[in-house]
């Protein structure tokens, strides 16, 4: 019988012919006859229907005849690979002897079966194992961070007393990047926040004819919380992310290895300038941010409220005590140390590829922001207990 199976028997169009295949029975078994244009852009990748082999007996051979094929590319090879697997599964000998030599060699490169799909990497552990692992991770990270803190403090002491491993130039450039470079964004954000606070406050306070208290609202909120937190969040995104990216890039570039081989301590050489510059500059940025925030409130109040400029400032100075500034200043210092330490730690722990640099930067920002908010909550509780 000469039943020809050709599922893709589309009529040939002008110029190119669609890929067509059929199996013709012979004495040895069968012959797979291919015709048309077998290219991915023109005919796609045809699939082979294993049912087409059901008329052939185990042990017979399937010869491939591609003399009628015009142009071809991976589409043909992929199809033939498919046929090879199907015929091996059916116990047939796959005979490529009359194919052109280059095609035969390409087919010979391919493994007998395509790779098995890798099982998903997300193996679900049970809740206890995950909790335990998470606890261990947290404990380990706490230990590592403490160790880093101790090493850097030791490095700082050494930098003052004896020969320093820290280069003054690195410290200066870090200070420049963590301080003056951030003035604009810290200013803009704090100005707008101060203005928003004043606006919302005025609308509400006006109902009680207590508009003048907007000075207290803006002043205390900025000095105590808003400016400290917003400045820290900006710096976590800006400088923390940059630290993590820089250190993990150095890691991938073997620069950290080179430091280690020379015996130059990473703690004082890389960590110290970063930590010092951020913890020195951020409290100053906080002060600047607070003043800008109060100024933002002042601008809104001037346009919405019937009060003189002098009156507004006097009310502000009377309402906002110095301790609010001291509280915010101290908080800023701790936020800064945390951001710098966490970012350096994340950078040092990162992998060595380009994707790892991105992950490290993201992680440093996330850890920084979450850490700041959590620390702020602790500070609020402490302040409440101490009556500040």
């Amino acid at each position: 019988m000469t039943e020809a199976l050709s599922p893709s028997a589309a009529p040939p169009d002008a110029g190119t012919q669609a890929p067509v295949w059929s199996i013709v029975p012979t004495e040895q078994g069968g012959r797979l006859v291919l015709e048309g244009t077998w290219t991915v852009p023109k005919g796609g990748v045809p699939t082979f229907d294993a049912n087409a082999l059901k008329n052939l007996q185990n042990g017979q051979s399937l010869q491939v005849d591609a003399k009628g094929v015009g142009e071809w590319d991976s589409a043909l090879i992929s199809f033939l690979w498919n046929v090879e697997q199907a015929s091996t599964a059916a116990g047939l000998t796959f005979d490529t002897s009359i194919l052109p030599d280059p095609t035969q060699r390409l087919l010979a490169l391919l493994p007998p079966t395509p790779p098995a799909a890798t099982p998903s990497q997300f193996v679900r552990q049970n809740l206890f194992a995950r909790t335990g692992q998470a606890t261990l991770d947290v404990l380990e990270e706490t230990g590592v961070l403490t160790d880093m803190m101790a090493q850097s403090s030791l490095g700082a002491v050494r930098a003052i007393t004896t020969k320093s491993f820290m280069r003054g130039k690195d410290l200066l450039s870090d200070i420049w990047r963590a301080g003056p470079n951030a003035l604009l964004i810290v200013g803009v954000v704090n100005f707008l926040l101060g203005a928003i606070l004043a606006f919302v406050g005025l609308v509400e306070l006006r109902r009680f004819a207590a508009e003048i208290y907007v000075t207290d609202l803006v002043g205390i909120a900025c000095a105590r919380e808003i400016s400290a937190i917003m400045t820290a969040i900006i710096m976590a995104g800006r400088t923390g992310g940059a630290y993590a990216a820089r250190i993990s890039t150095m890691l991938g570039n073997e620069e950290i290895d080179a430091l280690q081989v020379f015996g130059i301590p990473i703690s004082s050489y890389i960590l110290l300038p970063s930590i010092i510059s951020l913890s020195v500059m951020m409290p100053l940025l906080y002060l600047y941010g607070t003043l800008i925030g109060i100024f933002g409130g002042f601008v809104v109040a001037m346009s919405m409220m019937d009060v003189s400029a002098t009156g507004y400032w006097i009310a502000t100075f009377n309402g906002v005590e110095l301790k609010e500034f001291i509280f915010g200043f101290i908080k800023s210092y701790f936020f800064a140390s945390f951001i710098a330490l966490a970012a350096c730690r994340v950078g040092l722990k990162a992998g060595r590829s380009a994707a790892d640099v991105g992950v490290a930067a993201t992680r440093a920002v996330v850890i920084g922001i979450v850490g700041i908010i959590a620390m702020d909550a602790v500070f609020a509780v402490l302040a409440n207990a101490l009556g500040i």
Partner: protein, 266 residues
């Protein structure tokens, strides 16, 4: 002078004994032993992924071996405390695969930093030494350029100048020819030999670049990726001509398939 009967002869500078390297449960190389003679150019050879660079890392103090010893001048390197290891490290000069110049510093500052940190020399003296080291590798013109402003080959030469900053007597090279064109690579080979002779240093080179291995190495070890151990010792040239191990001969002669029928497919 030298006593061939002793386990460590006088001219052995580095002796590796039964070294096993692993990352967690994954064994990279096991029970590797070899001696590096003073003044020789010793090659650590092998195919990609066989653990050559890992071997180098354990020799320069970046990766603690699982078991085994590395004796540097008779001293068990990994048995020392960190301070002593740093002192030993100052006998080492390492040229990393990518040069590993510190990217925030100029080429000159890169070479100067180790001297600033570990010597009491005056800045003017350090400057002259930096010019000297950069002059030796032909990079004096790049003293004020940043690593990102120079080519890969120049970065390697600058890295070599930095490796020589503390006048080490042992130079390590991690794939010095990787990513270099043949001419640049041959020049680097010549430079390595000149520096070895001029400074009286011992050179340990990790490479799979055959022309460079044949040109400069006079002893070596061949690491195998399937058996995870050293399968041949000797100079690359003699391994190429005389080795009776088919894998080694195939590698050294750059033959894609093994000629011996006894080997199995990997």
């Amino acid at each position: 002078m030298s006593e061939p009967t002793a386990q460590l002869t006088d001219d052995t500078l580095i002796a590796v004994r039964d070294l096993t390297l692993s990352f967690g449960p994954k064994i990279i190389q096991q029970r590797v032993s070899f001696d590096v003679k003073r003044g020789s150019v010793f090659a650590v050879m092998g195919g990609s992924g066989c653990g050559k660079s890992t071997m180098l890392k354990s020799m320069i103090g970046l990766l603690r071996p699982t078991t085994g010893q590395i004796l540097v001048g008779g001293e068990d390197y990994w048995a020392q405390n960190e301070r002593r290891r740093t002192d030993i490290n100052h006998r080492f000069g390492v040229l990393f695969q990518s040069g590993a110049l510190w990217s925030s510093m100029t080429v000159g500052e890169n070479v100067a930093l180790p001297m600033e940190m570990f010597t009491d020399l005056k800045p003017a003296v350090i400057r002259r030494l930096v010019e000297l080291k950069l002059g030796l590798v032909g990079m004096e013109h790049a003293i004020d350029l940043y690593p990102s402003e120079i080519s890969g080959g120049m970065r390697k030469r600058a890295g070599l100048a930095r490796a020589m900053a503390l006048d080490p007597d042992i130079l390590f090279f991690d794939e010095p020819s990787a990513g270099l064109d043949p001419i640049t690579s041959a020049r680097l080979d010549d430079l390595i030999l000149t520096l070895r002779d001029g400074l009286g240093a011992t050179v340990i080179i990790v490479s799979h670049e055959l022309p460079s291995l044949f040109a400069i190495a006079d002893d070596g070890i061949f690491l195998d990726a399937t058996t995870h151990t050293a399968i041949a010792h000797g100079a690359p040239r003699s391994l190429r001509d005389n080795s009776d191990i088919p894998e080694v001969r195939a590698f050294m002669n750059r033959v894609s398939s093994l000629s011996s029928p006894t080997t199995t497919e990997g």
